[in-house]
Every structure is written in structure tokens, then in C-alpha cells.
Amino acid sequence: MITEIGHYVLILALGIAIIQTVLPVLGTRLNDPRLAAVSVPAAQAQFLLICLAFGALTAAYVTSDFSVLNVWQNSHSAKPMLYKISGVWGNHEGSMVLWVLILALFGAAVATFGSNLPRQLQANVLAVQGAIAVAFLLFIIMTSNPFLRLDPAPLDGQGLNPVLQDPALAFHPPFLYAGYVGFSMAFSFAVAALIDGRIDAAWARWVRPWTLAAWMCLTIGIAMGSWWAYYELGWGGFWFWDPVENASFMPWLAGTALLHSALVMEKRDALKVWTILLAIITFSLSLMGTFLVRSGVLTSVHAFAVDPERGVFILGIMAVFVGGAFALFAWRAPLLSQGGLFAPISREGSLVLNNLLLTVACAAVFVGTLYPLALEAVTGEKISVGPPFFNLTFVPLIVPLLIAMPFGPLLAWKRGDLLAVAQRMTVAAIVSLTAIITALALNQQGPWLAPLGIGLGLWLIMGAGTELASRAKLFDASLGESWRRLRNLPRAAFGGALAHAGIGVMVLGLVATTAWRVERIEALSPGGTLDIAGYELTFDGVRESLGPNYKELTGVFQVTRGGSPVTTLEPSKRAFAVEKSATTEAGIYNALGGDLYVVLGDSLQDGAFTVRVYFNPLVRLIWLGALVMFFGGAVSLSDRRLRVGAPKRAKSKPSVAVTAGE
């Protein structure tokens, strides 16, 4: 019964979404504000209905109702409650329902909190959101219905892929989707602005917080996926340039560029046309990410759902929205006027450089991900594009960006003084040069680039500090005055500096663990020992145990350092009977300066096991850096200036809002 209600309200939501798409557009065309205002209750109703549908599906999972096909395929009564719930979005159909739920949530937020938006803009934004919802609701109902019944109901389900039964992966998709779908806000605002033919700084003020929130979710979602890969896949890798990883990384790169260009637009009313284009590109890449993952066109670790029919449907959705938006852009963008002027050496100029490098880097990832597919489709030739390609194309674009990064926030708007900024960066330069020389001295066998990388990481962190110090006029004013200035800095300034420092932290982790990782692979019998990075591991043997839905074989390792006990590590292998597959759980000890990482390998004769031990120096800085970036975003988002909308002012002075230019 609950399932049928879920099915019913999902179809109702489709109906509402159609109304939400058509009436506001009609209203703004016919100049009928009442018709346009329908968009608000429609968006709210749509959110409620999809909430109900999602709740109904969750209820079916929680109660293990195996008469529902989707539950039977992806759940099992013996599964822990957490994974019964995360199983809702751990499969294709459910994850699409989550997708539209988040979409509807964003739409409802604009409807509810957007009362200070210009009416016409709000109506058009909600109409575009509605159109996206129509497409995806149609997709769900026609090709991926989660509410189909089975008759007779089977006794028990087939279980969830064990790889997905993990806390980090349970919450990885919701964050990722919140990021993807959050960019739909930027898209809808961009399309609405194109329909209106007008755009101003108020537009950027509205778009920035949404983009920032989406960016934060995507950052944490990607970091979670990487953290999961690190401890679950069993060889301590954290990023593989896998197509599905790339699919989430491309919107992140474009979204980062969008955040920065929207900044220029908000503060200086410049780069409007580019910002609009970037908003369209970012969401297009999000759609493409959905397509790549959901259609199964990729051969990759993540492509769990494989069904070409759906792929064609999503491809159609993409063609309509991406093609439509680009056509609209080509038609209407010339109407948008140019904004403020600036010199190449200026804050705006530095953000242009940021956008140049980020978008080209994004294009490098795009080409590397899609070229093999295109080549195979056209010529039948199969090639692989792996990490070496991205190291050669992506890295050379990102490194200059990182080197230039600390300069940007120190430059003045309109016209900056590079020399003065360079002087302010002296301390940061000395610190990172010292670090490079020290690292070179300690690291005489190479790898030679690693010390430079460490210097770069410190340069970024020091650069962020320099920005705050220089804004507070530290050493230029009295200490009390600096403190007062620092306290009065807008939170967005702290947020930006934190996010930039977070990248520095991440660079340190990436470089250290890539360059100085230590590895031992040995066959150990019980009682055998192994030395690594100053630690001594003693293998005590294995024990078998039963988990809620798996059998576990655990190896016990005593870790000592200089004779004194440090910890006991228990890497294990889990065999899932229902799903007929296995996972490895690494034993990880977070030691000072790095991770001790132990994996239990295959069983050999006489009770011996293949044992892999790694020491990954500073590896946690990678995810710590991502957390700092996330936190920086949150601090920036809490800035009053972002919450208080500017549109009021723009309404009272319509001449500020630039309409059709020359």
C-alpha cells in the first residue's frame, strides 16, 4: 500500500512539475503576475510529493518488503539497518529518486526563501528547475521505476553489493548528488537571466551561495569517495583517474571556476557572459556525470548499473538541456552588456587566469575521459587512458595555478601592483624555499620533484596566512589595531583563505605520500615479523568470526616501535554469502607522520599469509585538506553579506540592472 502511494505521488509530482514549468513561463510572457506566482506553491508541493515518494521507498527498504522488485534486488533482511537505508540510493532507481528529491529541495528553497528575488527572475528560475524535474521524473517513471511489484514475493532479497556496505560509501552518493544538483541552481539562474535578457550583480549574489553550497557538498562527496577507496580497495591508493571519479571531478573543477568568476561579477559587474556560460557548462558536466555513471557506458570499478536504454534516455535529456541552453546562450548572450573594466594585472585578471587554467584542466580531464569512448564508437579501436595521461596534461596546468594562487587575493581590484604583492609574499617565499632546501638535503636519492611539491604546499598555506595578515595590516599597524581589523574582516575573507590553505594541506599530503611511500610485501607465518618505517610488526595468526551478514577472517598483528608496544592491527577479509563476493578491510594505524597500512592477502601453505604493509607518510592531509576546504566554504557561506540579498536595491534602482546593451 505504502509503495503504491509512493508510486502515485511520484506521478503526481510529475504533473506538478509540468505545471511548474509551463505556467510561470506563460505568466511572464503574458505579464500575468498571478500566473507566474504559481511557481512558488508548485515548487513547494513538488518537494513534498517527492519527499513522500522517497519516504515510501525508504519504508519498503526498512521493512524489507521483498514484494518490491527494487528492494528484492538490492537488499537483504540480514543487512544492518544503516545499509538498509543507504541501500535506498545504493542502486540505480533509488539513486535517481534521491536525485530528484535534492532537485526539488533546492527548488523549494528558492520558492520559500527567494521572496526578495525579482518576481520574474524567481518565476523563470523555478520554471527551469521544473523542466529539469519533468525530464528526470519521466526518466524514473518510464525506465527506472523503483516501485514495481513482484508476485509472488520472494522470501529474501539478493543483498547489496558488499563494496557499498560501508559508512563512507553510504553517504558518498547523497553528498555527490547534492553537489551535482546544486549546480542546477546556477544553471536555472543562468537560463532565467538569458530568457530575461538582463543580468546584474544581484544575480551573482543570489547564485554564489547556491554554487558555494553545491561546491562544498561535491568537495566532501569526492573526498569521501577517495577516503573509501583508500581504506577499502586494499592498496592504499586514493585517486585513480577512473572515469567515474573524473565524472565527479569535472563539475568540481568547473564549479570552482564558477565560484571565482561569480565573485568578479558580484564585486565588479564584469565577466557576465563568461559566468553565464560557466554556469551552463558546470551543470552540463553534472548531467554528463549522471549519464556516465548511470548509463554504464564506462568500464570502471563504479559502474554498477548497466543498461543502455537508460543511457539513451539520459543522453536525450542532456541533449535537450545542454543543447537548449547553449542555443539560448548563443542567441541571447550578445544582449548582455559588458561590465567594469580592469587591467590584466588585477584581482579580476588573476581570477581570469584562475578560470583559464581551471577550465582547460577540466577540458583535459574531459578529453581523457571521453576520447576512448568516442574513438571506440567511431573506429572500433580500443585504447586506455590512465593516470600517466592525466599526470602529463592535468598536472602541468594545475601547478602554475597553485603557484599563482596566493597572489590573487592580494591584488587590488581594477589595477594591481604585482611588485608590491610579491614583496608581501617574501615571508611565504622564504619559508617555502627553506622547506625545499631542507627536503632536498634530507632526500638526496630523489624523487627530485617531491621537495618542490612540499615547498608548493607550504607556499599555499603561507600565502593564505599572508592574505589575512595583510588585510589586518599586521606589522603595519599596532597589534591592537591589527586584531580589531582581523575581527572585523568579513567571514568570506576567512572562508576564502581557509579554502586556499586547505588546498595547500592537500598538496602536502599528495606529494608526501606519492613520493615517500614505503611498501613491504612478504609471506608471513604466525610468529613472523616484518620491519617498516621504524615499526616492527609481529603476525600472531588469524581468527575467524561471524559478522551480521558476512564471515570474517582477521589477521592479528602486534605493532611495536623500539621494543615498546604501539598498537594491534587487525586487517580482515570478509566473505558475503548472499552476494557471493568478498571485501578486504585494511588495518590502519594513524601513526605520527603517516599511516601504517596492513592488508591480509591470500592464504599460503602452513598457515602463512601474503602480507602487504605500507607506510603512507602524511596521507591523511589529503582528506584533512578537503575538510579544511569544506569548512572554508561553510565559513564563507555564513557571511551575512551572502545571506542578505542585494536584489532589493536593484529593484529600487532599475537603471543599475543593465538591460540590453549596445
Binding site: 563494496v163 577499502e232 580497495l233 586494499g234 592498496w235 591508493g237 585513480f240 577512473d242 572515469p243 568500464t299 570502471s300 570499478v301 559502474a303 559588458q338 573594466l341 590584466p344 581570469v352 583559464l356 577550465t359 582547460v360 577540458a363 583535459a364 578529453v367 581523457g368 576520447y371 574513438l375 573506429t379 572500433g380 579501436e381 580500443k382 585504447i383 586506455s384 587512458v385 590512465g386 593516470p387 600517466p388 595521461f389 602529463l392 596534461t393 596546468l397 610485501i521 612478504e522 609471506a523 557471493k580 563476493s581 568478498a582 571485501t583 578486504t584 592488508v599 592477502g601 591470500d602 601474503t610 602487504r612
Partner: protein, 165 residues
């Protein structure tokens, strides 16, 4: 032939997934000579495990990856150069095995797209700056009388310049 290989591969994927998740190099494979072993590892990172999903043979514990690792090490012991080994592996398994595609005609767009785009974008930005300065320099060029008036207002003897527009 390709189709057969593909079918074979997809059959094996099921098997590989069952035992999956990467255990990589086995202790008995490691070569005695550390220099040779280091070369072997460097080579294996660039070779794809054909039955896995986007893993190098260095990361994969599939039987086929093991065979390839052993093969690479045998060739190394026989004294082949890195290029010879790559060429040998490609001749047996095709281009698909290379995680770093070679620079040959059908991968030209792959390798050249990014640098070309970078150049095009740079050119676009330079053009943007040039056009903007032109426009900002002379949005509406001053007429002769306006110029004279400006001269009068800002010149050395313009002390009581009350006019501002």
C-alpha cells in the same frame, strides 16, 4: 577476434570481481635485483589489467595481471629495454593494454586537444584585453572643441576649474 576477446574478458570480469580488490604483486614474483624490480614496477603501473576495470597490473590480483607481471619480469631478466617490453606487450595484447596511450595518428586529438585549447583560450583572453582597452580608450572620442576645453580646464593655468563635466 576482438569480439571473442571481449566476451572472454567480460566472462573473466565476473570471476575477477568475485575475488576482487587488488592484492597486487605477490612475494614470489619480486625480483632479486632491486634495480630490475623497480623497473618492473614502473612498467607495470603503465600496463592495464585487461580483465579488470581500470586497474594497472601492479594493483590487480587477477590471474591475468599476475601472468603479465611475470612476463614483464621475464623479459627484464632476459635483458630487454623498457621500450622493447612495451612493444612486445602491445603486439600481444593491443594498444588497450597501455594506460598511457602512444602518440600515434589516432591519439593525436587526445594528446593535442588540451595544449591547443590552452593556446586558443590564451589568445582569446589576450584579444579580450586588447579589445577592451581599445574601447575604453576611445568610447566616444573627444571633438576638437572638447579637447580644447579639457586643455583649458586641466592645463597649468586652470586654477579655478569649477566645471567638472
Amino acid at each position: 577476434m576482438r569480439l571473442v576477446l571481449l566476451l572472454f574478458a567480460s566472462l573473466l570480469i565476473w570471476g575477477a570481481l568475485g575475488a576482487s580488490h587488488a592484492h597486487a604483486v605477490q612475494p614470489d614474483e619480486v625480483l632479486g635485483d632491486p634495480a630490475l624490480e623497480a623497473r618492473a614496477r614502473a612498467l607495470s603501473v603503465g600496463l592495464r589489467c585487461l580483465v579488470c576495470q581500470n586497474q594497472s597490473i601492479d594493483d590487480s590480483d587477477a590471474p591475468l595481471a599476475k601472468d603479465l607481471r611475470v612476463l614483464v619480469r621475464e623479459r627484464l631478466k632476459a635483458g630487454d629495454t623498457d621500450d622493447e617490453i612495451i612493444a612486445f606487450v602491445v603486439s600481444r595484447y593491443g594498444e588497450f593494454v597501455l594506460l598511457k596511450p602512444r602518440f600515434i595518428p589516432h591519439t593525436w586529438p587526445l594528446w593535442l586537444a588540451t595544449p591547443l585549447l590552452l593556446l586558443a583560450a590564451l589568445a582569446g583572453i589576450i584579444l579580450y584585453y586588447c579589445r577592451r582597452t581599445e574601447r575604453s580608450e576611445s568610447p566616444n572620442p573627444l571633438t576638437k572643441t572638447e579637447k580644447e576645453r579639457l586643455e583649458r580646464l586641466t592645463g597649468p593655468d586652470a586654477h579655478q576649474g569649477g566645471e567638472t563635466s
